[in-house]
């Protein structure tokens, strides 16, 4: 590495030539992507596209089979503990310890991330406050609503002040109000701490509104990437991200019947958006 390269900040996440197999099934078929520091990066695609596998390889949950992944310059194979320290991870499934209070849940993760004892109490309180949970903090987490649980999970991920926050389908299963609440908090966190956010979602409207850049993933490959505006402009004046997605995947990979189905879904969604 040259002296100049050492001074340049390394990207928050760099994925190169990653392939991954589950038995006979090729889940990732050569994925390359870079997430720059400070951006909100959306990994989009339908269920089964390979989004979650990509994330699970980056956060060391799955062993990397082929290719390279670095988080802020740390290789996931050689320095998994360093990578784990840099990431805050919120999995798709709502997952908290229901038998502990909100504060105990966050404090638990503060300890697991070695937040120094002198700062722990304050950082736990701050994380809860940012997530709008200060009043509910001492209630058992089992009594929380879905949206509150998701915000509690964000507080757990935030307490370590990670370099990159990784959110896997953060709004699935939440009602629209809770969804907006979650996105609003993510935005506030990003503004307050300047952290990088990597988010997977299959809600194209959300991605369009909130991501600086997106990558469209389908059947284990990245089909297109860029800012939402760039991608839409390349298709046409009134194009949506869903149109972009269909253009990049539908032609070659989806049969006619399904194509109609997708269009149908897109139309229904647009209608629903107008009505709602």
């Amino acid at each position: 590495m040259t002296a100049l390269a050492e001074q340049l900040p390394l990207p928050a996440l760099s994925v190169r030539g990653v392939r991954h197999r589950f038995g006979d099934h090729l889940a990732l078929d050569g994925v390359d992507m870079t997430v720059d520091r400070g951006e909100v990066f959306g990994l989009l695609g339908p269920n089964g596209a390979g989004k979650t596998t990509t994330i699970r390889l980056a956060n060391t949950l799955l062993p990397l089979q082929e290719g390279e992944i670095e988080v802020a310059g740390y290789d996931v194979r050689r320095a998994p503990m360093a990578v784990r320290r840099l990431l805050g991870y919120v999995p798709q499934q709502l997952s908290i310890e229901a038998a502990l209070t909100g504060r105990e849940n966050v404090s638990w993760f503060a300890r697991l991330f070695d937040v120094p004892r002198s700062e722990r109490k304050e950082r736990v309180a701050t994380a809860l406050e940012i997530m709008g949970l200060a009043d509910a903090a001492d209630r058992l987490a089992g009594t929380f609503s879905g949206g509150m649980i998701r915000r509690l999970e964000l507080a757990q991920a935030l307490v370590n002040r990670p370099t990159m926050l990784v959110l896997d389908e953060p709004t699935v299963g939440l009602d629209p109000v809770a969804r907006d609440g979650v996105w609003q908090r993510v935005e506030e966190m990003r503004n307050a701490f300047g952290m990088t956010v990597l988010v997977t979602t299959h809600y194209m409207e959300e991605a369009d509104a909130l991501c600086d850049r997106v990558a469209l993933m389908h059947l284990g490959k990245i089909r297109a990437s860029g800012t939402p505006d760039e991608l839409k402009a390349a298709i046409g004046p009134d194009a949506t991200l869903e149109d972009v997605f269909r253009r990049h995947t539908g032609e070659t990979l989806v049969g006619d019947g399904t194509k109609g189905g997708l269009r149908e879904i897109a139309r229904t969604r647009r209608t629903a958006k107008r009505v709602g």
Binding site: P9, R37, M81, I96, R111, R161
Partner: protein, 277 residues
């Protein structure tokens, strides 16, 4: 562009600060402490389990113990049968608490909590060691209840606080081993229903193939062999020595349990990753 503004050298320094970890020698005890603390917090929110789980050992002591106390059918070396039985039942209640931990880890997997634990900078072995000591803490809490019941029944227990603390240490080691056994099986079978079946299948044989209810001397030869390789026998032997001052091999028992825990932690931590795939 926001991304360029923030991507200064400062953020690189922040990475370095984040990544600089406490040494492994501090991290292991810290993780074990964390899991024990969480266990105590859970216990403090719901204490009913302490009492529901006390029912079975009380029945053993009151019904089985009192009956055999009168029968004098089991040679106990001059002690009353209740005095002989109490350490066995204490070990048993620790075993029953610990064997639940494999089910708990599968439950945590199903609830998504395990995934989050596995992406914290916690080595797998520290996670398992933490959980096994948490099992130990919960077992001690359970054992205190059984000890009180034993006292009320008139079991002549030691009043030496060091011996009682020693007994707690033995209970922690025993529970640590059996929770590792349970988590190891969890890592192999991966499904909650299957594990529940297996847990039920193994707990009673572990109990009967030990010296908890009767001395090794009255066992048939084949059962003696099983009792010899059963860590529960060593736990009971140590508890008898510490709590009721029976002749025992406390240091051998301690060593066997310690080795069992090391093997248990190594095996369970090599399998726990399977649960998250």
């Amino acid at each position: 562009m926001r991304s360029l503004e923030l991507a200064g050298p400062q953020s690189v320094l922040a990475d370095v600060a984040l990544v600089a970890p406490p040494s492994i020698w501090r991290r292991f005890p810290s993780r074990v402490g964390t899991f024990c603390l969480v266990e105590l917090q859970k216990l403090s929110h719901d204490r009913t389990e302490l009492f529901t789980r006390a029912v079975q050992p009380v029945l053993w002591l009151v019904v089985f113990g009192e009956t055999f106390n009168r029968l004098h059918a089991i040679p106990t070396g001059g002690k009353s049968y209740l005095d002989f039985l109490a350490p066995g039942i204490i070990a048993q209640s620790g075993l029953f608490v610990a064997i639940f931990y494999g089910i708990q880890i599968i439950w945590e997997r199903d609830a998504g909590v395990l995934t989050k634990l596995l992406v914290t900078p916690t080595p797998r072995s520290a996670l398992i060691l933490g959980k096994s000591f948490a099992a130990g803490i919960r077992a001690v809490a359970q054992v205190i209840v059984v000890l009180v019941v034993s006292l009320l029944l008139g079991v002549s227990l030691t009043d030496n606080p060091f011996r009682i603390l020693g007994a707690f240490a033995i209970v922690v080691l025993g529970a640590a081993f059996f929770s590792c056994l349970s988590m190891t099986i969890a890592g192999i079978v991966l499904k909650r229903d299957r594990l529940m079946g297996i847990s039920q299948m193994i707990t009673m044989p572990l109990f009967f193939a030990s010296n908890a209810l009767y001395p090794v001397s009255v066992m048939p030869a084949w059962l003696r062999v099983l009792s010899k390789v059963n860590p529960l026998s060593y736990e009971v032997d140590a508890l008898r020595g510490l709590l009721t001052r029976s002749p025992s091999h406390i240091w051998l028992d301690f060593l066997v349990l310690l080795i069992a825990v090391v093997i248990g932690v190594v095996t369970a931590s090599s399998l726990v990753g399977r649960l998250a795939r």
